[in-house]
Amino acid sequence: MGRFWAAFFVLAAVITVAISWVSPSMHWWFPVDGHAHSSLGKRIDDLFYLILVIVSVTYVGTQLALGYVLWRGATIKPEDKVLFSHGSHSLEVIWTIVPSAILLFIALYQMDVWAQYRIKTHFPKKTEAVAEVTARQFEWRIRYPARGKALQPTPQPDDLYTVNELHVPSGKPISISLRTDDVQHAFFVPELRTKQDAVPGLVIPVWFDVDQPRSYELLCAELCGWGHYKMKARVLAESQEDFEAWKERASAEQFDDGFRKIAQEAK
């Protein structure tokens, strides 16, 4: 009976490894195509995989050790003596120092990625401030400067507005100013691995770059009320020319007095 239980626990560990192994092919893994689409996102994925390797080796090792001691304990013969030991000082030293070294390595190795993400002096030199993103219950209101102008902290008469659609130029570092009108929200673009809480009373700069010009899903990642699940939006990355062309069109639409089209058709 003991052997059955030892095998039971080993089997459970094997199943977890098997499920993890097939997860990427079942698309229970990083979203859409499995790759990050921003430079910081790629660095995050590299760190994730590094930790995954370290953790997997540790996991397999400890589960094997557990399975081994369970099996031994299940198959011990009545005449065998139990190992009467209160411990081993040298083992304690080894399995204190080795994990500490590994953990400290993981911690220190990542510091510059974190600094790049959040410390302003580590942001890329030329980051274009594209928009101010305001989260509110339950939508995203986005304010862009007019074409050729710089984003100001306060709304300007010729600023452009969209709801739930953040247009950005692809291929270069851009930043948004994240704020909220009411409660806390969080700006989360899974495929770019970008996330930042929007805090009442604060305006937080968030920078990222997008490698491919297409649409990326944007959602809220901090409980903000009953509609937290439906703050569905998108980040629309376009080439610089398309981005500027969009701004022209948007400006024209937004400041249309209703008569220009009629006047043109009358010509």
Binding site: I51, R72, G87, L104, G201
Partner: protein, 616 residues
């Protein structure tokens, strides 16, 4: 008094004259309701928390229903509780469900079952005392739980509106997450669940906090002052060490949460603005006057709630150590490292709270410091895991219900602990924060680890509590169903997190990148239902065995602790012979123990027999 009568009524009265008790008859109320006997109080906590566990589980099944069949009418409960929504769980109710699931499980189940039930029952028995240092305070700590339960029910949306002031039933149940972040929880207009129900919730947390505080003071005093002669600190079982360290954690961390709770109540009801910045307009309400900072709440809340998670882990670690040594017939591997590790976990636990706040907008430099301290706290947990494996190594294992639950504890602690390393790494946490990866991690450490340890502890100490054994077959079936159900429910959550599925979403599937995750979630819900209903086996086994279980003597497990010298169940005053402690608690298979493979702490070994050279 020349013969011993080891029954409930007569045992333990040898010391009565010293206490001035005499032979007084207790009324039913004094004996069973407002008892000051630690064993009865422990029992009251145990039964109450087991019932609360079923309530918390039911709330979780509501969450799982919505994730498996979004916007479909829920069977049975749909028409009972959500009739106005056509049987559907509304988005408001969904936010209430996960809020109250976490609240009930944390405040009404895990913390009270570890400290209140097992701490109360075991501490005096294991250190050789006749009761706690403050029996009346002990009784109050149990009864303060009931106002908390009542107020949590009000905050859930139960109860009539004229009584509770909650407008809208469960749709207006408190819905701000158990973390209750302002401004969602500070501004009444921010959500239906942020009106009166949130106030009830805060009052309930205050009551349960006071209950815990009373307990922690009692435990520290008892353990420091009332140990039997010969029981030095380093001869205490690891269960007692864990309860002691946990009590210290409670004492230092709880006041911060209570203060934060008062500040939030003041913001909501007295017009203060501790957490409310200026100019915020929620739902067309008047703009806030402001002057406060929302992040302050997060610091105060997590300053308690991080040590709280160790409060929810350490006692189980201590109890599992005792159970493993007994079931493997071997000493604990590395007793002192185990003590120091628990102390390190507790100490480090006070300086890691910011790891819940990496994305919160706090000063990024803090992210670096909290990353290092969080990585380091993995170390004592790893040391303990290696020591448990070392304890099992070379033993003669008895694969009973107790052992199975303890091995599951170790196996799932490995998973839960290792998944924590991902979120300790701040850049990786940017992605997995507020996704199901986090949910997987804490369920593995709180349920897979602690709760399985509790299942083992219930089975192990049940004979001492009631003088009867629980049914072994039902115990094993309960274990298998719970283990399989638990792992099928929660292991895939790691994958869901990597896939970017956010937490607290009533319907994640309307996002294209998440829509393919529905089948996996449906399997998980089925497994959760199996796991949930399997708990009735535990409750049934528990209730049945109290009356009809096979009777047992004082020490059915051949264990070493002082509690096994007392009668089963112990009478008033616990011990018929005052215990004296001669050695540590883990002398199993000792060469000096003679024919048997255990050496009780109260067993004196003559000098001649003690001189046996052992290599270790």
């Amino acid at each position: 008094m020349s013969t011993l009568h080891p029954t409930l009524d007569h045992a333990g009265h040898a010391g009565d004259d010293a206490h001035g008790y005499g032979h007084h008859e207790l009324t039913f109320i004094q004996k069973y309701v407002f008892s000051t006997d630690h064993k009865m109080i422990g029992m009251q906590f145990l039964i109450t928390t087991l019932l609360m566990m079923m309530v918390g589980g039911a709330l979780a099944l509501g969450v799982r229903w919505q994730l498996a069949r979004p916007w479909e009418s829920m069977p049975i409960f749909g028409h009972l509780k959500f009739a106005t929504d056509g049987g559907q769980i509304s988005p408001e109710s969904y936010t209430m469900l996960f809020t109250m699931h976490a609240t009930v499980m944390i405040f009404l189940v895990i913390i009270p079952i570890l400290a209140g039930a097992f701490g109360n029952f075991l501490i005096p028995l294991m250190i050789g005392a006749d009761d706690m240092a403050f029996p009346t305070l002990n009784m109050l700590s149990y009864w303060f739980m009931w106002p908390a339960i009542l107020f949590f029910s009000f905050s859930l949306g139960l109860g009539p509106e004229w009584l509770t002031g909650v407008r809208g039933g469960m749709d207006a149940g408190t819905a701000q997450g158990w973390t209750s972040y302002p401004l969602l929880s500070a501004l009444k207009q921010a959500a239906p669940g942020s009106e009166m129900s949130q106030t009830w919730w805060l009052m309930a947390v205050t009551f349960i906090g006071v209950s815990s505080m009373m307990g922690s003071v009692n435990y520290m005093t008892t353990i420091i002052n009332m140990r039997a002669p010969g029981m030095t600190l380093f001869r205490m079982p690891l269960t007692i060490w864990s309860m002691f360290i946990t009590a210290i954690l409670q004492a230092f961390a709880l006041p911060v949460l209570t203060a934060a709770g008062f500040m939030l109540v003041a913001d909501r009801m007295l017009g203060t603005c501790f957490f409310i910045p200026a100019g915020i307009v929620v739902n067309n309400a008047a703009p806030t006057i402001g002057g406060g900072q929302t992040l302050l709440w997060q610091h105060l809340f997590w300053f308690y709630s991080h040590p709280a998670v160790y409060i929810m882990l350490l006692p189980a670690m201590g109890m599992v150590s005792d159970m493993l040594a007994c079931m493997c017939r071997k000493p604990i591997f590395g007793y002192k490292p185990m003590v120091y590790s628990m102390a390190a976990i507790a100490g480090l636990g006070f300086i890691v709270w910011g790891h819940h706040m990496f994305i919160s907008g706090m000063n990024p430099a803090l992210g670096m410091t909290f990353m290092v301290s969080t990585m380091m706290i993995a170390l004592p947990s790893a040391v303990k895991t290696f020591n448990w494996i070392g304890t099992i190594w070379g033993g003669r294992l008895q694969f009973n219900t107790v052992m199975l639950n303890c091995v599951a504890f170790v196996a799932m602690f490995i998973i839960g602990g290792l998944s924590g390393i991902f979120m300790a790494a701040v850049p990786v946490d940017i992605y997995i924060h507020d996704t199901y990866f986090i949910v997987a991690h804490f369920h593995y450490v709180l349920f897979g680890t602690t709760l399985f340890g509790v299942f083992g502890a219930i089975t192990f100490w049940f004979p001492k509590m009631w003088g009867r054994m629980m049914n072994e077959t039902v115990g094993k079936i309960h274990f298998v169903l719970s283990f399989i159900g638990f792992n099928v429910t929660f292991f895939p959550m790691h994958m869901l997190g990597v896939a970017g599925m956010p937490r607290r979403y009533a319907d994640p599937y309307h996002f294209e990148y998440l829509s393919h995750l529905l089948p996996l979630n449906q399997v998980m819900t089925l497994a959760a239902m199996v796991m949930g209903f399997a708990q009735f086996l535990l409750l049934g086994n528990f209730a049945y065995s109290i009356f009809f279980g096979p009777k047992c003597g004082r020490n059915p497990w051949n264990a070493n602790g002082l509690e096994w010298t007392a009668p089963s169940p112990p009478g008033h005053g616990n011990f018929d012979i005052a215990p004296v402690c001669y050695h540590g608690p883990y002398e199993y298979s000792s060469p000096v123990s003679g024919e048997k493979d255990f050496l009780m702490q109260t067993e004196y070994v003559p000098l001649a027999q003690r001189v046996v050279h052992v290599d270790h």
